[in-house]
Amino acid sequence: MVHLFEMHGKHIAYDSESCSIHELDKESTEVLRLYINSDGKRPSEAELMKLCDQPEPELSEIKEICDDFDEMIDSGALFASGAPVEFSRLYPEEPKIKAMCLHICHDCNLRCTYCFAGTGDYGTGHRAMLSAETGRKAIDFLIAASGNRHHLDVDFFGGEPLMNWPVVVELTHYCEEAGTKAGKDIRLTITTNALLLDDEKTTFINDHMKNCVLSIDGRPEIHNLMRPSPGGKPSYEPISKRIKAFIKARSSKECLNPEHYIRATFTRNNLDFSEDVKHMADALSAGNISVEPVVGVDGCGYEIRAEDIPEIEKEYEKLALFLSGRKKEGSPVNFFHFNMDAATGPCVYKRLKGCGVGAEYCAVTPEGDIYPCHQFVGETKFRMGNVNRLNEIMDESGHLISGKSTTDILDAEVRKIFLDRLMPNREECVNCFARYHCGGGCAANRYFSTGSLDEEYEIGCRLARKRLECSIWLLSEGKSELM
């Protein structure tokens, strides 16, 4: 489908099926609008005549524009048809779990107001640390479950994983050894609030972890409002100092793993979140930033409401303008949700699949419980299994027993719920121009906002569309400069 929009004085057409992007002027915008209204058919002469009511343009010029659009349609660059894709093509054999959010710790040294994890214990009432033994079983499970997939991902998560640092170190080495032995490339990420980050941990993370996600909520007053220490003490000062030092080390020429993100959450308290992005870019020298909307319970006071959307949409546009300016100045800032590289992005099959929750991704808790993702931990009806049952399907040398599979220890009914969540099956996604960049959105956001995995989370949808528009605009800004 063709999506036509205007941003910062530029008219842009985006064809979601073909991923083509075109800048238009006033005349071609009006002509394309007629094409969109007639589902890609050339407008009638009478319709085109209405565009010539002013002195300009002349009908001949309008017809030339139509000729150009007709050529683009014939070549598949506009109004490209989306051929239906069979489910069997989306998964070569069957879905394989190949990414894991490994919960190193169900405890935390902060008490963030909006924490989806109940400030560390995931609402279970008890705080726990992952043992190295359970962690190794989780890695063994991942390797076995991944079948012949080569690229695996493990995120050391929490709570706050740095609180259980010796296990992080041990499991890092285990991933590297076991992964190599099994012919896998296990990429490691660690997600941390940085409060316990020191030089030793920084060096280890930089030597071993492909990615690092550091949480801070932008300006000091915003961060301290939502991310206090236990007892309510502000945490911005110690955290910002550590993050700044980490970024410097991570960005140095000696570091072989430069990838990292500074990740913030915005709430109703800071709908002007572009100011937080600017703060982090300036005060922390952050070059890779992500700011995401909170998903809060209705009535909590900081939740994003439907009436906030117009303001948030304008804020994203303002942010895009700021980022464009920084790029032109020669000090670019990479904003995660505005990343878009249409040319080398995912294929027709991946773009239908979304994040992989419960199908190709799972979370494992300190108790060894397997869930579809970290957000569902504690929602026991979505518990998929436990890695401590590996001895039922593996021999002592860590190989799968003949005839056994990791799916034998997974709850097939729970898994099916998530396998069936493919984006093409959802009516509200079929006519959305952002569907291939959203993949159906976050299952957890849907569930915790609406009570159902299947109800539309309208706020998430609208923000995803605006972020995609900003991404497209930035892409066009960048490429326009080169033309």
Binding site: E17, S20, P92, M100, D155, M340, V348, K353
Partner: protein, 47 residues
């Protein structure tokens, strides 16, 4: 084209195999930053 400037040509990626290879990153964009669902991933398959 006088009134239309193409910024990105049509670029749908259709694997020669006719099916997904399954190597794409599948973890959470929020927790792990390995993918924005799909938008900012690069294809992992060189074929």
């Amino acid at each position: 084209m006088k009134h239309i400037k193409t910024i990105q040509e049509a670029c749908v990626k259709i694997p020669k195999s006719g099916k997904a290879c399954g190597e794409c990153q599948t973890s959470c964009q929020s927790a792990c930053k390995t993918s924005c669902t799909v938008a900012n991933q690069s294809c992992e398959n060189n074929n």
